[in-house]
Amino acid sequence: MGARGETWLWLLQRATAVVLAFAVLVHLATLIYAVRHGLSAAAILARTEGNVAWLGFYLLFATAAALHAGVGLRTVLREMTPWRGAAADLLVLLLAALVAAAGWRAAFGLFA
């Protein structure tokens, strides 16, 4: 990957980090609220089902996490192992797709 591609990956990781900084806070606050108020799974689902705002939030959160982890894992691989090139990039892309798919599945599970 050339200078342009590497710079865009770097930008992507910074941009997703900004999203994650807020998303993780919201996620943790939600967790604490649910625990302190003793919300059951059914009570949580009653709040999230059909709620487009929560669906959008968790789709964005899962996508940002997948992209951020993918770029980061690629960097770790390149620094800690001699493995580089298209095959390594493809593996990281597959892992990122897997994380995104799992996240999206969970988000739709809360929605519908």
Partner: protein, 238 residues
């Protein structure tokens, strides 16, 4: 200070061993004085580099008790532990012999980072007038006093992990030129310093800034390059 220093010195190339010497301790003694004493009085086959002895030329850097330093300006009393010194060649560079390392790749990376000044077209024969307080001039001034000693390069973990990484000194040089209004190669230079071997590989751990004997901050220069390359990418100019 009187007494005797016990000095372990790396002898050999990549494969070698530490050899211990006893050197008389003196007042205001630098680490380079110690090395010179060994070479002149104990073992004339010891190889090392120095030239100016006053912190200008950047040729005498070595690893002193595990820390990269310019030895001509490093006082023994500040770095010796219990009267002991361990001197090794700079890390992250191939060892030629004893304390002398091969600096070729280090300076080749300056070239690859676009480290040569390229006059801007239409510069004219007259002196360029650069306001001392202009932000670009200030940014260039902050990094311009590099003496090319290689201390930052030896201190950098990213260089150790990624041998292609251009390193703090070369990137600092690129940043000073990017802020030189007389230079005309900015766009090409941004392409040269972007990417896995360039500024984006830096983790901002700041070992370079911590150990630089001139108290420069290559990490800040690299952060500047990251901003400049990101802006260029967003404009579609990279």
């Amino acid at each position: 200070m009187t007494g005797t220093l016990r000095v372990s010195v790396w002898r050999g190339a990549a494969a070698g061993r530490l050899v211990e010497y006893e050197v008389p301790a003196q007042e205001s003694q630098t680490v380079l004085d110690v090395v010179s004493h060994i070479q002149r009085h104990l073992d004339p086959t010891l190889s090392y580099r120095f030239a100016c002895r006053v912190g200008m030329c950047g040729s005498c850097a070595m690893s002193v008790n595990g820390v990269p330093r310019w030895t001509c300006r490093t006082h023994v009393r500040r770095v010796a532990r219990d009267g002991r010194l361990e001197l090794r060649p700079l890390a992250n560079l191939p060892v030629i012999k004893d304390l002398a390392v091969e600096m070729g790749e280090f300076f080749a990376k300056w070239t690859r980072a676009g480290g040569a000044f390229v006059p801007a077209p239409g510069l004219g024969p007259d002196f360029a007038r650069v306001a001392p307080d202009a932000p670009a001039r200030q940014a260039a001034s902050a990094g311009i006093e590099c003496i090319g000693c290689g201390v930052c390069y030896a201190a950098c973990d990213v260089v150790r992990w990624n041998e292609e990484f251009l390193g703090p000194a070369a990137l600092n040089r690129a940043w000073t030129l990017l802020n030189d209004v007389r230079d005309g190669a900015g766009a090409a230079r941004l392409g040269a310093v972007a990417g896995d071997a360039g500024c984006h590989a830096c983790h901002s751990q700041q070992s370079c800034a911590l150990h630089c004997p001139k108290h420069l901050d290559p990490t800040a220069a690299i952060a500047g390059l990251k901003r400049a390359t990101a802006m260029a990418a967003l404009r579609g100019a990279l």
